[in-house]
Every structure is written in C-alpha cells, then in structure tokens.
C-alpha cells in the first residue's frame, strides 16, 4: 500500500509571473464591490442616462417626426457632462477607502510583505477604481454609439463622425485618470475613508466655487483653470471638436490636469510604504 506524506508541503504548482500581482488586487476589489447592493444601485443609477438616450435614439431612428431627438456630436459631449456627477459618486464610494482602509488596519504592511511591489499595489488599487469609472463613462458612451448604428440600421452617423470613437476614449481616459490618481493620492494621505471622501468632494467643489466667484466678479472665465471640473470640461470641448466653453486657454487646463496626475503619483510614491520612516 503506497504511503502518502501527510505533513506540510510547500506549494509546488505554477506561479504567476512577477508583475501580474496587481491583477489579483484589482480582481478581488472589483468582486467585493460587486457584492454590495448599495453600490450596484449607484451603478444602475449611473447607467440611467444611457437607457434614456438609447430610447431617444430608437425613437429618432424609427419615427421621422421625432428627428429632434437624433444624436449629434453635442449629444455625446452632453452625455459626459451629465455623467460627471456619477463619476464623483463612484470615485467617492470606491476610491476613498482604497488605501486609507489598508493604512487604518495596517494591511499595507501585509501587502508589501508579499512578493508584490509598491507599483503593483498602486496599480491594483487604481485598477479597481478605473474599472468602475470606465464602466460609467467609456463603456456606456461607446455602447450608445453602437446602438445608434444598430437602431438606424446605418453607419452614416458613425462614419461622418468617426473621430467620436477616439474622442470618447481619450476623454474618458483623461477623466478617469484624473479622478483615480487624485482620489488614490488623497486616500494614501489619511486613515479615514470618510475624511478622504470629504477632501475629494471639498477640493472639487471648492475649486468650482472659487472659479464661480471670480467669474462672477470679473465677468470673465479666464480663470477657469482654477477649477478641477472646468479643466476637464474645457479639454473635453476641444477633444470633441466643439468651441471651448471658457475663455482660458485649453493648454492651461491640460497642464493643470497633467500636473495634478503627476503630483498624485508623487504623493503615492511617498506614502505607499510598508514602514513609514520618520526622519
């Protein structure tokens, strides 16, 4: 009778290549969030506009009298404008605790004691937030474009506005990158998800309020680059080949966005450490 060793044995199966551990973090985070009913409700609400627009596309394609509902480039630009509030809610819900909760429970030390680099850890956390943000921006926008072609049984709109595909992708990537990096950086600065959420919402609306006051007082929108939201909107107009809505130069807005992403990356580099060295 063959005797089997019942004692502890090391894992001898195949291992993932180094550099792919971020996928494990991202997948686990995504699975966790998909299990929360409240979050699913937020996601469903975020897709509300998609369904309304889809109905409008259907009606305009099938009932000539309702041609006023037909899509245009502006339609897709407006779609992103309205989605902004859901981008905020998803960012706050998903992002605020991503690193803060790990710092609070000292899980960061455990993560970084595994064969996992700091970059992979950040990439995993970014992956969770970016996934859900893309689900409320890029995915519904592209799906709408596809629906338009299907409902009208014609590729005319798509071919006439082929630039919309890269425009949607570029705009969504910019919006998602800015939201993900800044939120993650704020999350790394605190041990409280609630505090992080307030900081993020505060920064967003504070800069918008400053710009609003200065705009009202100076009767000019030259200072639009002061507002996080206005920067995204300004660049968005350029990406969608529409006249910019503010007087400030769009490269200034692009510079602010790039600087914020860079600053956030720097903060993450400084803050995501297993052990904090106080000098």
């Amino acid at each position: 009778m063959p005797i089997h060793d019942q004692s502890y044995r090391r894992y001898a199966g195949p291992r993932n290549e180094p550099g792919s551990a971020w996928l494990v973090i991202a997948a686990a985070g995504i699975r966790t969030l998909l299990g929360r009913k409240l979050f699913l409700a937020v996601m469903l609400a975020a897709w509300g506009q998609f369904f309304v627009r889809a109905v409008m596309f259907y009606l305009s394609a099938n009932f000539p009298t309702l041609n006023v509902l037909a899509p245009s480039v502006e339609t897709f630009r407006q779609f992103f404008d309205i989605q902004e509030i859901f981008v905020l809610f998803v960012t706050v819900y998903v992002g605020s605790g991503l690193i803060a909760n790990d710092r609070r429970s000292n899980a960061l030390q455990i993560y970084l004691s595994k064969p996992l680099s700091r970059v992979e850890y950040v990439a995993g956390k970014l992956g969770i937030l970016a996934f859900f943000l893309l689900m409320v921006t890029l995915v519904p926008a592209l799906a709408l474009l596809l629906l338009e072609a299907m409902f009208s049984a014609s590729l005319a709109f798509l071919l006439d506005n082929l630039f919309l595909v890269p425009a949607i992708a570029l705009y969504a990537l910019m919006e998602v990158s800015l939201a993900s990096f800044t939120m993650l950086a704020l999350s790394s600065l605190s041990t409280s998800a609630r505090y992080t959420a307030m900081l993020y919402a505060g920064a967003l609306f504070f800069t918008a309020a400053v710009f609003g006051i200065l705009r009202g007082a100076t009767a000019s929108s030259m200072l639009a680059w002061l507002s996080l939201r206005a920067n995204v909107e300004q660049i968005g107009d350029v990406i969608f080949r529409l006249p910019p809505r503010f007087e400030s130069p769009w490269p200034a807005s692009a510079l602010v966005v790039l600087l914020l992403i860079g600053l956030s990356a720097l903060v993450l580099e400084r803050r995501v450490r297993g052990v904090e060295v106080v000098t």
């Binding site: 609630r194 959420a197 919402a201 609306f205 006051i213 200065l214």
Partner: protein
C-alpha cells in the same frame, strides 16, 4: 501600587444630571475634541478659501486689473464690492461651505466615535444616548460658527469697500448674512445628523443630497423643491443679500418671477421643522440603535 482605592465623596448620584445637563457635559467633552481635530484643517481650508479669494480681488483692484463693468450671459452688469460680497455669500458660503460642513460634521457626530471605537465610553455612562448626539451637535454648531462667521466678517471688510462700496451701508446686510449662515449651519447639521443616524454610508448619501439632489430638484417645477434645504434658505436670502441691481439680485428676481422662492415666514418655518424634526428623529434613532464596533 498605591494604597487601596478610596472612593471620592458620594461619587454616584442616582439623581444624576438632567438631559440638558448631560448635553452640556457632552458639549464640554466634544468641543475641544472637535476644534482641535484633523477635521479643523479641512474646515480652515473651506472657510479660508473665500478670504484668499477676497485678498486676490483686492490685489487685482489695487493693481487696476479689475474691470468693474462686464457681461454675464449677455447682460451688462455693474460690479462693486457689495455685489461681489453677495456673490461670495451665495456662491461660496451658502452653496458650498455650509452644506459641506453640515455633511462632514453632521454625519460624523456619532460615526466618528464609532469608527474610533470610543463610543463605548460615552454609551456606558449615565447619560441618555440622545444627549450625546445633541451635545455633539451643539459642539459642531459652535465650532463651525466660530470658524465660518469670522471668515465672513473678514471677507466683508476686504471686499465690500472695493469699487466704491460702503462698509457702513452694507453693515446691516452683513448681520443678516451672518444670521442666515448660522441658520444654514444649524439646518444642514441637524439634517445630516439624522442622515448619519439613519444610513450606514451617510457621507455618500449626504454628498448625493447636496450635490445631486438639491441642485437638480430646486429648479424642477412643482412641489419637489420643497424637499430641499436650499428652497427654504432662499426664502431668507433676499433679506440678507444686497438688492442693488447686481448679479445676485438679478438671479433672485428671476427665481422669484418663477415662484421658486418661498416667503421668509415659510422659509423660517420650514427650516425650524427641519432642525427640530431632524434632531428629534436622530435622537430617537440613536437611542434605539445598536453599534457593533469592528475589532
């Protein structure tokens, strides 16, 4: 170890402090905690922003870089100090700082203690749980008022004299604005204290309310807008804002023409109902709720 514990003279008092006495003691305990917490940094940023903007405006005016005439949405407007001050009260304090502070502090009154796992120490003392909530609410109100109101006064003196504005003439409006903001802090604080007691994720609910629900519903015709705080606050605004033909008055006239604004009486009654009803419900919820702390 020292000598055996000598109990202090009659330390246990079966009569104990009344509800109001308990509120006062919780207030004493919480005020310092709240004022010197990390949240104060956030709060200073929120109320320091308008002061910084006011300083920038003064600088622009002193360098003659400021154009007092301009257009908004195609309408010519004459801008002076009181108009800018009105804009800041409306655009900064009422629409942003006050609701945000209300959300942040109101939802945290109990949640902070639960998150820090210190709620046990308060709930195992002979004070009603409701007194804990009300005491903390009062601490928030004083704390927020002490930071917001001086900021408004500072902005008033920095901005109102600009471009020919008169501090003396605008002073009564300042007092009304201060009262309005104090009411705003009280109302939003009470509402979000209720949200904090009611929901598991009160912060998201609060943000959805102030940045999702209020801005949208307030312009929807019908009764929906009555389910916002800003609707009732707007009823008090014309009495506190400069009515000089400036931008704010223009906006308010449009709102009034569309019957969006309630009367001052309706506004006051509505706000009182929110404060009293919100706090009463929050107290009831806190009294009945169990708080299971994470280990």
């Amino acid at each position: 170890m020292s000598s055996p514990h000598e109990p202090p003279p009659s330390p246990s008092r079966p009569d104990g402090p009344s509800f109001l006495g308990s509120v006062a003691r919780i207030y004493d305990l919480s005020f310092g905690q709240m004022l010197w917490s990390r949240r104060t940094v956030f709060m200073v940023l929120v109320v320091g922003g308008p002061v910084a903007v006011a300083l920038i405006l003064r600088l622009l005016v002193s360098m003659d870089l400021f154009d007092a005439g301009g257009e908004i949405d195609g309408r010519p407007v004459n801008i002076d100090g009181p108009v800018i001050f009105g804009l800041m009260i409306w655009g900064f304090y009422l629409s942003f700082s006050v609701p945000l502070l209300g959300v942040f502090y109101g939802t945290s009154l109990i949640a902070d203690e639960v998150e820090d796992r210190t709620i046990t120490y308060l709930f195992t003392r002979p004070v009603p749980r409701g007194a804990v909530l009300v005491g903390k609410y009062l601490a928030y109100l004083v704390c927020a008022g002490l930071l917001v109101l001086p900021s408004v006064v500072l902005v008033f003196f920095l901005v109102v004299p600009l471009l020919g504005g008169s501090v003396g003439a605008g002073f009564p409006d300042l007092l009304k604005d201060l009262a309005l903001l104090a009411v705003g802090l009280a109302v939003y604080g009470a509402l979000f204290a209720l949200v904090g007691a009611l929901f598991k994720r009160p912060l998201l609910t609060g943000l959805v309310f102030i940045f999702g629900w209020e801005p949208v519903v307030i312009v929807v015709p019908g009764y929906m807008k009555r389910f916002t705080v800003s609707y009732y606050l707007q009823g008090l605004v014309p009495h506190a804002m400069p009515e000089d033909g400036g931008v704010t008055s223009l906006v308010l006239r449009v709102l009034q023409a569309n019957e969006i604004l309630p009367s001052a009486t309706v506004g006051l009654v509505g706000l009182a109902v929110i404060v009293i009803g919100g706090l009463a419900l929050a107290v009831r919820l806190v009294e009945r709720r169990e708080y299971v702390l994470e280990q």
